[in-house]
């Protein structure tokens, strides 16, 4: 069985994929992964996940204009300039 290894380098940091080990069960995967990915104390924690348990998502439909969902979909500079001008002339 292939176990994917996710590794957290320091507390608070995300777990990142670091590699994989082949092992017959979780106990062996634990014993082996901890030395392969932590023998120098370089890992705060590991997540070991059987590859078959991983559900990958790699395809998205991108048909319509979804800019409104993203930061780059907004252009406030022009309207802000007009609003400031109006506020200044109203004073």
């Amino acid at each position: 069985m292939i176990f994917e290894v996710f590794r957290q380098e320091k507390k608070g940091q995300p777990f990142a994929h670091a590699g994989s080990v082949e092992a017959p069960d979780a106990a062996f995967a634990d014993a082996w992964a901890r030395e392969q990915y932590g023998r120098r104390g370089e890992s705060e924690a590991l997540w070991l996940v059987p590859r078959e348990s991983i559900h990958a998502v790699t395809e998205w439909a991108d048909e319509f204009d979804l800019k409104y969902r993203r930061v780059d979909g907004y252009s406030i500079k022009e309207r802000l300039r007009i609003a400031r001008e109006r506020a200044a002339s109203a004073r």
Binding site: V21, E22, A23, P24, A27, F28, A31, W32, R34, E35, Q36, R39
Partner: protein, 212 residues
């Protein structure tokens, strides 16, 4: 007296660590190879710490104790000297040694000697991984004839690691019997130790007194 006890422990760890390091590069799987090498390194590390304690008392240094004695001056148990280059025997020895060592360390942790008790506790904490590893393998090999034969073969040697009063405890923990067993105790060395020593000290003896 204390130095002798330290040396027995240190020599066990050094020689077993040396034996375990023989599997570097040739263990059954690559993943196991990496893990097993950590165990071998830990054992050498334990030996070093123990030698350092003994060296302070004897007015020498750890390397001198580890390498510069003659084979018959070592205090290790025959169990660790055996050349066992097959996996069933190797795991059987790991399992039996860890069980014997735990009995021994439990006693040392309760010692009045604070320094020794402290070091025993440190070693014990690192041994957690070794026990996990040995138990994991012992579980997988439980039904395997070669492993069961190896256990039987090495049991008399395992008993020999401990003092007589500690042996019943070892029997209790492993479920193996003491009574009819022909124990192989500490005090005599195997020809294998001399062979090991020749290889282990080859470079060191080539230029005595040199710094490496």
């Amino acid at each position: 007296m204390r130095a002798n006890a330290l040396l027995a422990l240190a020599d066990d760890e050094l020689i077993l660590g040396w034996r375990d390091s023989e599997w570097t590069g040739i263990a059954p799987t690559l993943e196991e190879d990496v893990a097993f090498s950590s165990i071998a390194q830990n054992e050498i590390g334990h030996a070093r710490a123990l030698y350092e304690l003994a060296a302070a008392e004897l007015g020498t240094d750890a390397d001198a104790l580890a390498f510069d004695r003659q084979p018959d001056e070592y205090c290790c148990a025959p169990l660790v000297e055996l050349h066992l280059m097959d996996w069933a025997h190797t795991i059987a020895r790991r399992y039996l040694y860890e069980e014997a060592d735990r009995v021994r360390l439990d006693a040392l942790k309760a010692s009045d000697d604070a320094e020794l008790a402290g070091l025993a506790a440190k070693i014990d904490r690192e041994e957690t991984y070794h026990r996990l590893h040995a138990e994991m393998w012992a579980g997988r090999l439980r039904g395997e004839p070669r492993y069961l034969e190896a256990l039987e073969e090495l049991w008399p040697y395992a008993l020999g690691v401990l003092e007589p009063e500690q042996r019943p405890e070892l029997a209790r923990r492993t479920g193996l019997r003491v009574e009819s067993t022909q124990i192989v105790p500490r005090g005599h060395h195997t020809a294998e130790l001399t062979e090991l020593w020749n290889e282990m000290t080859e470079v060191r003896r080539s230029d005595p007194g040199a710094t490496w």
